[in-house]
């Protein structure tokens, strides 16, 4: 056997066992569960039962594995980024390249699983919520592939921020419904999707995009995403002969982070670090750092940390990244935080955009702004740990969708033709020259960074 020609993950051993949580009713410690109208319980039970049968069914597992290999392009590679790492205190940095998946992010891992499940339970229609549009595009893609009809709910505000993804979904044959209630962002899209589901549950399956929501979604989405960490753990062991010192990922709802963390949870020596969207800084109140700045409560069907006021009303989140702009977080993250197995740190918009520019200029990789939060956390952690450290980062998505936002942030192109988006004041931000230098972006606010 010529080992160099064989990708390390093609013969990887069976993945480690499922974590001991959640319990049979979907609780991760005190978090999770089901906080939904009774009308949805039957559908959630049906989904749970079908999923539990399917996840140990060899025929399903083979079909799923074939799709991941031939359609998504798995396994995704691990890339070392030495020029970027020069800005990380000399630590070595490895990227898990989920950005190279078909549709451009980790979201496809989950939707292929849930779309197969939809067919298994005999439903012909799927619905989904989307923030940045990546989950919506992935769901529209899987629906096209499997001949399902597809409706995607997206906050009106987000349809403007992510017009490219709206067009992609429509090209793929999905109906995109702009949601005009509440804050007109992801949380309201989820409310609207639940309203659709409770009305059309006999014909429709809800393809949930992250590790939040009522049981079984957090566990099921985790199981579909854990392939990221299962592959990466084997890949790092193969090339380095050891485990990384830390695994880093951005956290909005938290599916890419759970995806890469899960395989490493039993490895006590490996630090798990989730980077939350710190927006303008946690101390400004304009952020989406749910665990850092929130408190336990109930939102969208589960108990978890959330951003809320004294009346228990969900507080609007703020982030330059539409995919992290969510006031809740998956219950397993809340549990990992409370038991001290994972750490959660905020990254401001400015820090994320600095890391975004740096990866573009040093490695020729344009990351999603979501993933740039993980990169910013890596720069900081590398400086803390020094040159001996080996850091594994989930590059959860690519930045094509963010080109307009980034151009606006950095003042690229003809600024008079660029219409600043909501909440974006281009005057605060850097000029083209600063980006070209590859140095830290001036004008940033380092406030709120722990």
């Amino acid at each position: 056997m010529t080992s160099s020609a064989v990708h390390p993950t093609q013969e990887r051993p069976a993945p480690p066992a499922r974590p001991s949580w959640p319990d049979a009713t979907g609780h991760f410690g005190v978090f999770g569960g089901r906080f939904v109208p009774e009308a949805l319980i039957a559908a959630l039970d049906e989904l749970t039962e079908a999923y539990e049968a399917m996840r140990v069914d060899p025929a399903f597992l083979a079909e799923f594995a074939a799709l991941q290999r031939d359609y998504t392009g798995r396994p995704s590679p691990v890339t070392e980024v030495p020029r970027f790492a020069e800005h990380c205190g000399g630590a070595r940095v490895l990227l898990k390249r989920e950005d190279l998946n078909h549709t451009g992010s980790h979201k496809i891992n989950n939707v292929l699983g849930q779309a197969l499940l939809t067919k298994r339970i005999g439903k012909q229609r799927v619905i989904a919520e989307t923030g940045a549009g990546q989950h919506g595009v992935a769901t529209a893609t899987a629906a096209a592939l499997m001949g399902l009809s597809c409706t995607v709910y997206m906050g009106e505000e987000d349809t403007r921020r992510q017009a490219l993804n709206v067009a992609r979904m429509r090209l793929l044959g999905a109906e995109v419904v702009p949601v005009t209630t509440g804050s007109r962002t992801l949380k309201d899209a989820i409310n609207e999707a639940f309203r659709d589901w409770v009305t059309n549950v006999e014909t429709t399956n809800y393809v949930f995009g992250t590790v939040a929501g009522p049981h079984p979604f957090p566990a099921m989405v985790r199981d579909f995403q854990r392939v990221i960490g299962d592959e990466a753990r084997a890949q790092v062991l193969e090339r380095e002969g050891r485990l990384p010192d830390a695994v880093l990922a951005c956290v909005g709802g938290g599916s890419n982070a759970i995806g890469i963390f899960t395989a490493f949870v039993p490895d006590d020596g490996v630090r798990l670090i989730g980077l939350e969207a710190g927006g303008d800084g946690v101390d400004t109140g304009r952020h989406a750092a749910t665990i850092t700045g929130g408190a336990p409560g109930v939102l969208h069907g589960a108990r978890s940390y959330l951003l809320q006021d004294d009346n228990g009303q969900t507080v609007e989140s703020h982030s330059i990244s539409a995919g992290l702009d969510y006031p809740g977080v998956g219950p397993e993250h809340s549990h990992l935080h409370d038991i001290g197995r994972a750490e959660y740190r905020p990254v401001t918009d400015a820090e994320a955009m600095e890391a975004f520019a740096l990866l573009c200029r040093t490695e020729g990789i344009i990351p999603a702004i979501e993933s740039a939060h993980a990169l910013a956390g890596t720069m900081r952690l590398g400086r803390e740990l020094g040159p001996e450290a080996l850091l594994l980062v989930n590059l959860s998505g690519r930045g094509d969708k963010d080109v307009e936002t980034a151009s606006r942030w950095f003042g690229l192109g003809d600024r008079s033709e660029v219409d600043p988006g909501p909440g974006m004041d281009t005057d605060q931000h850097a000029t083209e020259g600063a980006v070209a230098s590859g140095d830290a972006v001036p004008g940033q606010d380092a406030g709120g960074v722990a």
Partner: protein
């Protein structure tokens, strides 16, 4: 005995169904919403469901969302709700709070139960709390002698009808159709089927909600249920500016409706 059950049984003794009116606190403002509730009682409501405004009302349709959003923005909270409870109690109807779970959890479950009982509230309806997750609320409501109303739906299995109704006190809220709140042209057969299935497993009264908006529909539902719950139609009176007068007139029409047809034995 449960205050809600007592009132519903009193209605049954008159050969009619009970009328349950819903209005949220805080639209167009707290005082005006309380005036609306009092008008609903004056028009003939037996029970008032006092809605706690919530930022993410996943079970509500556009009418109720529209009224609740400004109340949320204005910072209306449990303290205002307790004032409404006192006003409805004083007006002679049975006040029951209708709240998504997070506002109650944030206020503190035991504190909520204590303050609700002190204000004269009969209990609470919790549309996104199923008995399986309700340990703290079951304990607190038990301690304070409060009613707790959980929902059943056409999709509920018989086993769930049994376990959910076993946890209910006051009445069982039968969500008549699969969907969100809002007025509908017809009530549909699903409601009667659900009531029949629910009655087969419990002696707790069964009230029907979702979709009833006028006297004829109220009469139809009164033909098979112990109580008729009306929400969006009341809220629309407030949204369209007819205020307490509109609410009172609607209550009168609905109260006539629930008396039109005798409750089946």
């Amino acid at each position: 005995m449960s205050r809600l059950e007592e009132r519903i049984r009193a209605a049954r003794a008159e050969g009619r169904a009970a009328l349950v009116a819903y209005l949220p606190v805080g639209y167009p403002d707290v005082e005006a919403s309380i005036a609306g509730m009092v008008a609903a009682v004056e028009g003939g409501a037996d029970v008032v469901e006092i809605g706690v405004p919530y930022s993410d009302p996943g079970m509500d349709g556009p009418v109720i969302q529209q009224a609740v959003e400004p109340a949320v923005r204005a910072g209306v909270g449990i303290r205002d709700v307790l004032r409404a409870v006192e006003a409805v109690d004083a007006a002679g109807a049975v006040p029951v709070v209708m709240s998504y779970w997070n506002p109650i959890e944030r206020y503190g479950v035991e504190r909520f139960a204590a303050d609700l009982a002190a204000a004269g509230g009969a209990g609470a309806i919790t549309p996104d709390l199923i008995p399986d997750e309700a340990g703290a609320w079951l304990a607190a409501s038990e301690e304070r002698g409060l009613d707790r109303v959980f929902l059943v739906a056409p999709s509920s299995t018989d086993a769930r009808l049994r376990s959910t109704t076993a946890a209910c006190r006051g009445f069982v809220y039968a969500a008549s159709t699969m969907g969100v709140t809002g007025t509908r042209a017809t009530v549909g057969d699903a409601a009667e089927t659900l009531v029949t299935r629910t009655r087969a497993v419990t002696d707790v009264p069964v009230c029907v909600g979702l979709g009833v908006s006028n006297g004829d529909q109220a009469a139809e539902v009164a033909g098979f249920a112990d109580g008729v719950i009306v929400g969006s139609a009341y809220v629309r009176e407030m949204l369209e500016g007819r205020g307490p007068d509109g609410v009172r007139r609607l209550s009168q029409e609905l109260a006539e409706g629930v008396r039109r047809q005798a409750v089946r034995p």
